[in-house]
Amino acid sequence: MARIITVASQKGGVGKTTTALNLGFSLSRLGQRVLVVDADPQGGMAIASNLSRRTSLGLVQIIRRTASPKDVLAYTRDRQMAAIGTGLSDPDEVVFFEDAARSGALGAKILVLSAGFDYAVLDAPAGVGSIVQALLHVSDGVVLVVRCQNILLKSLPVFLRLVQRVRKTRNPKLRMDGAVVTMFDDRDPAEAQFCEEFTGSLPETVFLKTRIRFDPVFERASVKAVPVAMMPGADAAARSYLDLAFELRERDMRRMAEGGTHEPTEGLF
């Protein structure tokens, strides 16, 4: 089955959509078959990847059974990555989409669509609403997108309590894959110090080592509707997401190697 990762945060504007798209793309460059799902009614990922020009169909039409996956899944030419949008085009459909999230229909369709992929990366809307909850119900892991600013960190507990609740009530397999610091600007000493204090006060497994630094090239990539790795002159930014993908993949591989046991084994065979 696909490993389903929800990319989420309590606040908007912290780089969640950028992370979902570029993480998904980078995982596909590491040889994984990746489905990127834009589950945010704002449709940011579909716009930032040009998916919205590829098709206006998406999850809504799949839920309504008025379209097939063939119509809504946009594959890269190498077929390593596919993307699907929400398919939302008017306010009534947003209500329908949220109802589908509450009823379980959204989660069920995401599970089915993810079959055959190695990873499904879900771009969640900000907050703790019904759509986010539906995504967490069917996810294996959460990548928490964090920006090191006082006011933004103060909003974290609400989201974290939701993760805890989902784990306890609906999806005990849900795990925290890690928090990733985005839009990090170490030229600002105050932010850098605050970030160091915050991440330093937690066990090192909580935060992923990779930090996504602020870089104007992300905005340019968004305008061009491509992953940042496809932008000329984007070495550092592209590397950061490749590092992030590699780090997540490495964590997964280590868990696989451990075989789910905490006890050391005696010999390979």
Partner: protein, 183 residues
Amino acid sequence: MSPLKDSSEIQEAIRLLREISEESERSRTGAPWEAQRPPFPAARDAEDVEIERRGVDERHLGEMDEVRTAVMQLAHEGAVLAPAPQAPTSDTVTSEPAPETRQEAPAGTPLEAPFPAIAATGSAVEPVADRPAADEKAVDESHEGEPQPPWVGMVEARAESAVQSPTWPAFEEGPPGGTAEVY
């Protein structure tokens, strides 16, 4: 004064992050999504198990056979068949990219050229120029001579064996019938 220590919300965030992370580690059970991945013919049964495991309401799974089959077929094609672009068909012709997307990109714009890293490293992947004539579209879209993208070295160094695509991942043409615009 430390904004970190003075804020009860941030202290709460730290506590919850620590708690959830520890819970995640304690409950880890290997990688079930890998261990349970079935071969394609058996995938449907395994999906049912997975869906049941995750507690999704089965009411919403009824009559999904058609969708499921189509997804599996698409994924199977992507995994098993050669990843090179398909030869043009009448379907793809109907959804030919709009003129503006076919223009040569000026300097400083994103590249959409075939995957230069593979050709440069002499990988087993078939170079674009050597593909059969039927692969005309891919040849048309190549931007030979353009500078290599900046992350070529990274991919080579860290995932050389994994990357098998001879092309940039520009999305494929729209579905048959031309209902979608060019991606």
